[in-house]
Symmetry: C2
Subunit: 122 residues, 2 copies
DNA sequence: GTTGTATTCAACCAATTAGTTGAGGACGAT
DNA sequence: ATCGTCCTCAACTAATTGGTTGAATACAAC
């Protein structure tokens, strides 16, 4: 199992939680310490610390050291990895459906021209 | 809690599993029945059926009825919803870091021009 | 050195999840 | 009507997860 597999596992799992998505949204505006991040929620500071650790293990954020503070910093490259995975397959699927739609439209037009309603093209 | 919140919860959680990501990858090529999907893996058919249900509850796939078969069909729009969420915040973060980098570069240049190496800007 | 602040570690609990096996439902073919 | 096929439902298990509280660490400041 490739290494990027586990990375994607963790990244998608990390964003599956609404609190963690909210943290990411806030970190896209500005870096913040764990304490600052925890302030708006009515869960314990430790719970938020855990959430940040999940984001960190997923590679979505990094932490630096500033005295006893640990400023959390969003890592856009990890987000980019996710979109690239998704977009690859979304594009394939959409291209396929466009081709299928075009084929169906052409077939329907042919039928109409021939005045047929329910025939096999053999 | 918004409705799109739960949708995103489920979609991200669904793609957090490597087997389910593999299913999505294969469905981007062609629709397939549960039996066909299950064939390559060495887990039970029921396990794959459950995985497909998770993808379905997340809105990532739909199922039609063809006799006793249930062809599974990838839904690119759900994937699009995910990329839109991610890209919004990725763009914000990257724009912010670009601005910060530019500022730092400018400051470093100013320092150099003044011949200073480690000074506070008041 | 003692105090205060910022954060993590550890142990625990309840809920969820990915897997199993066994039974059952829906449908086509004979 | 019965048989085989495709698939889901139900019940169970083991592992993971999001939350809790209490103790410990790291550092600045006094």
């Amino acid at each position: 199992m490739g290494d990027s597999t586990k990375q994607l596992d963790r990244a998608f799992a990390a964003l599956a939680d609404p609190t963690r998505r909210d943290l990411v949204a806030r970190l896209s505006i500005a870096d913040a310490t764990v304490g600052e991040l925890a302030e708006p929620y009515d869960v314990s500071l430790q719970a938020i610390s855990k959430h940040v650790k999940v984001l960190e293990d997923a590679g979505l954020v990094t932490r630096s050291k500033d005295a006893q503070r640990r400023p959390v910093h969003l890592n856009p490259e990890a987000l980019d990895l996710m979109t690239q995975w998704i977009e690859r397959y979304r594009r394939d699927a959409e291209a396929r459906y466009r081709r299928l739609d075009a084929l169906l439209a052409r077939t329907a037009q042919d039928d109409e021209e021939r005045g047929t309603d329910k025939e096999q093209a053999s």
